[in-house]
Amino acid sequence: MQTDETVTHACVPDDYDVAYHRPAALMDVNMHYCPGCAHSLVHKLLMEVVDELGIQDQTIGVAPVGCSVFAYEYMDIDMQEAAHGRACAVATAIKRLMPDKFVFTYQGDGDLAAIGIAETLHAINRGENILIVFMNNAVYGMTSGQMAPTTLPGMKTTTSPFGRDTKFYGAPMKIAELVAQLPGSSYVTRQVVNSAHGVRKTKQALLKAFEWQKQNTGTCLIEIIGNCPSNWRMTPLEASRFIDEEMVKAFPVGDIKTPDQPSLEPTPENL
């Protein structure tokens, strides 16, 4: 993912059409993310959507504490870096004061599901018209692979060296299903980005969420199953396979709630 746009452009002869390019709203800098990490891909998708909707000047993002703490270095939009877990509180204030702007938070599982669960649930319960992009990779990435609320049963992390014991630590938190229960949530979906299909679906979800935000339908939450090869101690390919074989079993992919079908209950059939 760490392409250098200047170099890329220099290689394009004048008579070639550019079929693929870095979104204008994505900064032309090297990212610090590991090879095979989902963050850089989702950053790009987000900024593609901002480009396509033409809302770069109206979008304010809130970065978390975690691997994506530097999101504001990569997205060419106005952003605030929040304290650990508090992105939804920060975003609440921004959106309440500037209701015409598009406001999103970008948070990992430690940030959103552990330390920030109160701010997250209350923002959603108030139906704040914001988008929460929730990156779930089942571990604390930045602090190098500790157990998260979303760590799978039996999964080994640096703080669950014998595998997550659900009798001791409980089962993984299904955030998307949980927040769908709150009346304030409007669009809740879970997506993957380990396949071309998944990437396309995720981008569609992001587009939809911004459209819903324009209509003030309430809080949108997109949970994205992220790959974390470094902390899963896998190659990027193995990590991708792990998502298909393990992660999606615990975290089923699909729309859980949409504003036009608010009564949609999270059942295995509609997942």
Binding site: Y72, I77, M79, A82, A83, A89
Partner: protein, 355 residues
């Protein structure tokens, strides 16, 4: 046009927030300051301002961060235990240099403590409070009028220095009623081109952050903050003096304690003891220079605080041993009477003249 009302300290503060053009208030109920949230919940919507009861003080302070980062005048208020919860957020606000107004209506602690007034949060307010190396501008109102005045001053100083300002009040000043006059106020025009309002093509993106991962850059940021705090020390010291001209002995007290001390001073003067009072209005910056000057004039100083001795350390640093210094305090929500302080003064005078 001036408007005069009889109000509780907390209500005067809330009304002042509206008159000072506060765009957003975020808060959580806690005694003895819930009147602020209640008043604003009732009055702010009429002025098309944002008022939100947050799920916790942690959320409140981070909402203030979001609002201040977007360039709005934002504030929160709480009392001691709730204010402790905000400390992480305050550190972030100071680190990101966001202007905002914070109010601590101090009750006695530690822990859950009591809802009665105290001044045990002096250290927390004046020495930073949260993690890292920063200072807050600290205003200490001693009357309902100042509860209102310090809101205007606080917002203006916050904007001027891009730094959080805290009003350190206490339960008694918050709950008591006095006359308060609101004068017409003109909100100064402040450049907030750094705010996250949406990035037009004409400028670079704005990022609000307190993260400087490279130590070199972190140190540069710290140096910049230090320089700012020194400028504040230079320009923003505020205090009040009563009867210091001929004083042999000096009382030093702030907030409610200063009011009680003033009465004690009157009682002492009636007995022929020449006592003066210095009341710091800003606790950071602290009136060090003036105290140092007075140290060469008086026989001794007595600090009175509703704690076990906190401000006395700053007085000691200021006078540098030039003058005998005593302290007197009550704690746990107990309040000294003017007579109690006057007796302390008499004892000190006896000692001073015995030597």
């Amino acid at each position: 046009m001036n408007v005069t009302k009889l109000m509780k300290g907390n209500e005067a503060l809330a009304e002042a927030a509206i008159r000072a053009g506060c765009d957003a208030y975020f808060g959580y109920p806690i005694t003895p300051q819930s009147e602020v949230l209640e008043y604003l919940a009732r009055e702010m919507p009429r002025h098309n301002r944002i008022v939100l009861q947050a799920e916790s003080e942690v959320a409140s302070i981070n909402m203030v961060y979001g609002a201040a980062g977007a360039g709005f005048r934002a504030m929160t208020s709480s009392s001691s235990p709730g204010f402790s919860l905000m400390q992480e957020g305050i550190s972030y606000l100071a680190g990101a240099e966001l202007p905002c107004l914070l109010v601590n209506v101090n009750r006695a602690g530690p822990g859950l403590g009591t809802i009665q007034p105290g001044q045990g949060d002096y250290f927390q307010a004046t020495k930073g409070g949260g993690h890292g190396d920063y200072r807050l501008i600290v205003l200490a109102p001693a009357s309902v009028q100042e509860m209102a005045d310090h809101v205007f001053l606080g917002f203006d100083l916050a904007d001027q220095y891009r730094n959080p300002v805290v009003i350190l009040s206490d339960g008694a000043i918050g709950q008591m009623m006095e006359k308060v006059t609101f004068k017409p106020y003109q909100k100064p025009t402040v450049d907030k081109s750094w705010a996250t309002t949406g990035k037009p093509a004409s400028r670079k993106r704005n990022a609000i952050s307190s993260l400087f991962i490279q130590p070199e850059r972190m140190e540069q940021h710290n140096l910049k903050l230090t320089e700012k705090f020194n400028r504040i020390r230079e320009s923003e010291v505020r205090f009040e003096e009563v009867n210091t001209d001929d004083a042999d002995y000096l009382l030093v007290a702030y907030g409610l304690s200063a009011r009680i001390a003033q009465k004690a001073m009157d009682l002492a003067r009636a007995k022929g003891l020449r006592v003066g009072l210095l009341r710091p209005i800003t606790l950071f910056p602290f009136p060090e220079k003036r105290l140092r000057e007075l140290a060469t004039q008086v026989q001794g100083m007595l600090t009175v605080e509703l704690n076990s001795g906190q401000m006395v350390e700053d007085v000691r640093l200021a006078v540098e041993g030039r003058v005998p210094l005593a302290r007197y305090g009550r704690m746990g929500g107990m309040i000294f009477t003017p007579e109690e302080i006057e007796r302390q003064l008499e004892t000190l005078f006896e000692k001073a003249y015995a030597n």
